[in-house]
Every structure is written in C-alpha cells, then in structure tokens.
Symmetry: C3
Subunit: 300 residues, 3 copies
C-alpha cells in the first residue's frame, strides 16, 4: 500500500516539478509539515528538521513527507531547467529533545517495505542525532552516508522483542558497520545504546559532548563539502556504496519480516499499552535497555 | 574420511531421532563424553561444556561428538513431533582452566575438511572462552554468532608456522571481524593474543575481567534471548550471516590446505615433540607468542 | 599511455629476466633510481627505500620504477632457474623525513589508471610509513597487505578537493578498513589524518611513537614471516584478498575519474601554484587539513 502510494507520488512529482517548488528548493515545510527545510551554503546544504508529535513517530504523515523529499531528490525528478541545483549535502536533525526519528507507527498494519532508500539520490545524507533513533529511525540512520551523535543520542532496534526484525537495510548496513558478531549481539538482544558506545563500536561516526558541538561539527563538515564539485562528491559516494547490500538482500529481509508478521502482530497491542499509545513515557524512553521492560512486554 | 563418517552419522541420526533423545534434549553427556550439556531457561538455552584431556584437543572423539551435536541441531534432523523444541541459544564453554578448544590432533592425518559448520542450524551459537582457542578451536570460535572472553582467553592460529593455513572459514570470518590488514598481521605471523587485545580488535565481542563476570554476562544475554521468538532470532541470524563467506570460498581455502599438506606434514613430528605429544606444557601454553618457540619449531 | 608502457615493460621483463638481475635480486637501485633495495633474512625480506625529490612525488620516474619492481615480482616473470627465490615480504619505507609516497604528479595529464596493483604477486607487501602518504601514496598504502606508521605519518586523499576521486582501489580498500561511513567522512572531506587517528580507525595496523620503534617492529615481523614457507604465506594472503574489491569495481572507479577529468583539470594549475610546483612548502605539508587551505584552492 505504502509502496503503491510512493509510486503514485513519484509520478505526480515528475509531472508537477516545474510548476511548484520541490521541497529542497525553499525554506519551510511541505506536505504534512513533519519536515522543515533550511538552505545554507548557497543552497549546497539542506538542513531538515524532523517534527512529528512527542516521539517523532514514523507514521503515515512522516513517511509520506520523507518519501516526497527523497523522491524529489532523485535525478529523474529534478527539472533540467531548475534555477536551484539540488543540495550536495542533506543534514537530518530534530529539535525534539528526546527523539530524532522514532519507531514505526505500530497502529498501522505493515503492508510492505517502507521504502526508506537514501541510495537513489546524488545528495549525501548526514544524520545529526541527539535523541532516540530506534526501529524505523535506526533503519534510516544506518543507511545515511554519515551519522554524528550528540549526548542524548540513543540508537537501536526493538523489532526482535516483538517477534520481527529490522528491514530497509537496517541489518545489512549495521553488519557492515559493526561486523557480524557485534551486530548479532545488539540486534538479537533488541536493545539500544547511547552515543559513546555507538561511536566506540562504529554505529555512528563520532559522539559529541553537547548539542552545540554536534551542530558546529556537522555545519563545518557540510560547509567544507559544499566547496567541492557535485561530480566528485557523488562519484565518491557511488564508489563507497558499491559495498552496500544488494537489493536482493534487502528484499530477502523484507520477505522474512512479512513471513513473521502474523506472529509479530500478537505482541503489538501490549507494546501500545506499555507506551501509553507511543508517547514519551518511561517505557518508550527506556528503549528496552532494562530486562524488566522486556519481561513486561513479552511474558504473558 | 571424516566427511564420510559425518554423512553416515547424519543418516543414522535422521533414522533414530524419534527413538533416542538427541544430545540437546537432556542434561549429561553423549557419544564419547567430550561434551556435557545443561539445559536452562526452560530448554531455550543449552550450555555445552567441553572436556577432552589436558588441552581439549580437537581429536577424533571431540570431532565426532561435536559433529553429532551440530547435526542433531539441523532442522531436517529435528523430529516434528518432539516434545522438546530445540534450544534458541547454545553456549560453548569449558571448565578446563587453560583450554577452551585446542588445536587439531596432529597425530591424525588430515583427510579433508573437519566440517565445523555452525551455519546450518537455526540455533544461535555463543562462545564463552576462558582458555586457549587456537587452531581448530579458533576456527570454531570465529564462526560462532557471538564470542565472549574471560581473562584467560587466548585466541589465534598456529597453522602458518607449520606450513598450513586455517580452514573451515577460519580466515574468512576473521577477515570480516578484523579487516584484511589486521587479519593478515595475526594469521601470517601465526601468533595468538589475549582477551583484552582480542576485544579491542573485534576478535571477540567483549572481554570480562573474571570467569564469574563472563558467566553472568553470557547467562544474562542467553536469558534475554530466550524470551524472544525462535522465528525472530533465526530471521535476524540468517540476515546477518548473508554477509559471511560463500561455500565456494571456504572450499577454496580447504583446497589450498590440501595442496600444502605434503609440506606441512614434515613439520608435525617436531610439533608433537615440542609439546610433549600435545600436553599442557610451556610450549603448548606459549601458543607461539615467543619468537624463540617459533625458531625451535621451524629452524632445522 | 601509462598502461601501454606497463605492458611493454612487462613484455621486456619477461624476455630479459634471465639475462640481467631483477630488481629484488640485488641490493641497490635500478631504472631511474627512485627505489633502492636491501635484501635481508637471507633474501626473504626486501626493504625498498623510496627517494624521489623533496616530496617523493609519484611522477613518471617513480611510477616506472615501481611498475618495474611490481612486474618483476609477478610469478610469470620469475625465471624458474633463478638462484635467488623471490622475497617473501617486501617492506616499503622512505628516509625522506616528511614524505613516504606523495601524490600523483599533476603536471602529467592523467591518461589512465596508474596500475598500482600489489594484488598479482605472491610476495607480501608491508608499508612502513613515517611521512605523508596522500593521493597516489595513499592508493598504494591501502592496497598493501599491512601498514605500520611512525609518528610523522600522514594519510589521506586530496582528490575530492580538486574535483576527482581516488582510484586504484583507494576507495574500495579504505571502505573495507574503516567501514562505509568513516571512509565517506574522510574521502568526501578530502582531508588527511595523523598516525594515532589512523591507527584508531584502522587505516594502519599500528602507530609507533618513534621511527626506531617502527623499524624494529616491522623488522621483527618480517623476520618472523621469513621463517615460514612461501606456500603458507601466499595461501593465507590469497584467502584474505578474496575479500578485496573486484577488478570490475576498480575499473568503475577509474571510469568515473576519467569522466570527471575535464572538470578536475581546471583546478590543477592552482594546486601547482599553491604548492610552489609540488615542493615541501607549508601548503603541501598542510595536506588540506586546514579549511583555509581548501578555500584558497577552491574559491576563485
């Protein structure tokens, strides 16, 4: 369902591209307003602020806006006569003090892949995380080209605790970052870790000790990259991503998720209950780091 | 020869599975008694203690018992009407103070691969190492899903010093853990390292400062995993192991071992002599970390 | 052009191999004299000292000498009746206090790949770096089997700052050492780092605190490897390098470089000017670590 709506949206974008500004061509919000954009470095850098309720839930609104943004950056959707060239670097951050991108909205019945692919654009994607990036949030994080963490960053997967697994490359990219054994340890345990440990094991590039340092470091890097040619940046990105997972591998993981879904769905009402329907309560903020939270969720 | 006996054994297991308990269905020993099993977490976790003489030599007895255990965990060999579902996690440890799993018994003429594959089962394999895991022991260690070390852990390969190389994925999995250059440094030098260095370079997941801490940490992880569904654990394991070596690559390494074997065999009598026929003497415990031991072994 | 001359040279070597000593069969220099060889451990180790002007520029002379050395080590070019077996280990170092191998000579019009392949020989390659290894120098470094750094080592890529990217496996091997995200951060930023950071992220195997320690450690390792059989060393090297990039991947990167070259060439006069025609001035020694140097280079 999501996949089909993405295709329709993509077609719509291709048609309307010259008549209305694309999301990255102006400052402000678009669609459902879950993402707000700020251009800098003469348009070479696009800052995207994520804002979607108390936990930046990856729900239908955020999913639609994110898909619209990613599709607008696909080369085929960029009008050749544009007065604004596309950004070289896209930085994703959130001014929500606790969440960067939360997990998938478990009130939705998951019908297919969420199509969170950052792989099909020429722009570089940098995550600047100073809150939770778990579940779908982590799927998005690990496929970005680079990720930088502030002191409040929490990264992890909780799918395993409810009978599922990460998709959209969430496992495949993490294995390439951490190696098989460390990825197994974290993913199988369905747990989350903080910024320092994430940097030590390679889940993020660096951990900074304050939100200010994080912002300054990412801005400095984005400015430096903005000085280089789009051809060189994209050529290097393309060469690096040749090491990423194949589409077949990602499809295999999605197939496993769908196969396990009948078992997973039985756990979801309890997850909604414990999180007070996905609000920033103690259970949600705990991100399953405490075994007691796991027992509350799983043991009937 | 070993390969053929494994196939015969596998056939025997398939036939007899419903009439006698499989190794993981009860506490105690089986076969030659080199492995003793303890079930916990309602059968979800199987602790396997390795006990085979002074250095836990990977000889015909241990090889046969290990093969029987691994084969009994293959999905095709698990009876559909079993009252005991297979374990979700298998933890390998040893109460031998110096050895976890030692090297291959060099009194045996190596006829083919030792078939140490942990890849064909749905159970997760965790190594809990607080002694030497060298040679065949290391081949087994690196293909486990996760590995945890106590203060007495020693990991390494000594095959290079006698003209051979590691098989059974020993090189291929280590390259994915350490990267090519670090793996080259250790494997070419045919040396061994302790727990702290092993954790720092990614050879094991973590190093703990006492045997008690090691046991508690692995037990806590095994308990946590025991709460999750077998489908989710196995789906994640399968997705992760897609990054592992191909069977063709492992076969190529075995072919190289067999090609080099006529040269390797000339070194083996000296290795038997220096180790007092593979006992826990100073040479064996040294694990070739001292260049003097290498010179004694190699220089005629 | 370079590629063709390499082929001719290779043919010439194959013909002349029995009549004149190959570069590794004697102490001293050969060709243009940019490399001088010293045999030790009874010929099992070959030390190669790099000496080519103030910055060890990777120019036509060094490229020709290096290609001759690498070709002379290809199995097909080693005469079967040689009295000197080829070295087991080749150690590359330089007594230039500031440079190990510098970047490509940008006065040359880059016509094709520089064919810096260490992959086709049986000898092991160890880099012992105590100066700049940037640009082409880094391309060579990362494809060596092992790399060890002294306190003055500086590793990095500057191609991105002038509109190009690293070839010859420069990106592909670095991705396997650092992971995709760290490699992206350094390569996209076209920056360089010192020995300690290089060791921490896995760019080199170890960093030593003095030139003496570096030399002693590499000598000790080379001696240890010299005791082992060539078959075992090569079998292990071959198994490890199965994880390296495919020739198709390296060719794709070279194709991107050639495609971007018309854009890159416009930046090169400014690079020649700022480096006082590639001398060891402050700009060259800065290796683009300071954003001001990048601005001077790129902003018109």
């Amino acid at each position: 369902m999501l996949k089909r709506s993405v295709q329709l949206l993509s077609a719509a974008l291709a048609v309307s591209a010259t008549s209305s500004p694309l999301p990255w061509q102006k400052n402000g919000t678009f669609g459902y307003g879950t993402l707000s954009t700020t251009r800098s470095n003469n348009g070479s850098t696009l800052r995207v602020n994520i804002q979607n309720g108390p936990i930046n839930l990856y729900d239908a609104k955020l999913s639609t806006d994110m898909t619209a943004l990613l599709n607008s950056l696909k080369p085929a959707n960029i009008p050749s006569n544009t007065t604004h060239p596309p950004p070289k670097v896209v930085v994703f951050s959130s001014d929500n003090p606790d969440f960067w991108i939360g997990h998938y909205d478990i009130n939705l019945i998951l019908p297919g892949g969420t199509n969170l692919s950052t792989n099909e654009t020429n722009a570089l994607f940098a995550s600047a995380i100073n809150g939770h990036a778990t579940g779908s949030g982590n799927e998005f994080l690990v496929q970005c080209d680079m990720a930088f963490a502030g002191p409040n960053a929490v990264v992890g997967s909780l799918e395993g605790a409810v009978g599922g697994l990460q998709g959209n490359g969430g496992i495949q990219y993490l294995v390439r970052k951490l190696g098989m054994a460390k990825a197994a340890e974290y993913l199988l345990a369905a747990t989350s870790i903080g910024a320092q440990e994430a940097a030590a094991v390679g889940w993020v590039n660096h951990a900074y000790s304050s939100a200010e340092e994080l912002r300054e470091a990412v801005d400095a890097l984005a400015y430096r990259l903005s000085l280089f040619t789009a051809g060189s940046l994209n050529g290097t990105k393309t060469a690096i991503r040749a090491w990423g997972p194949s589409p077949e591998q990602s499809d295999a993981d999605i197939a496993t998720i769908l196969r396990l879904f009948p078992e997973e769905i039985e756990h979801l009402p309890r997850l909604i209950e414990l999180s007070d329907n996905q609000t920033a309560n103690a259970f949600e903020l705990g991100a399953l780091r405490d075994i007691k939270d796991v027992e509350e969720l799983v043991i009937q």
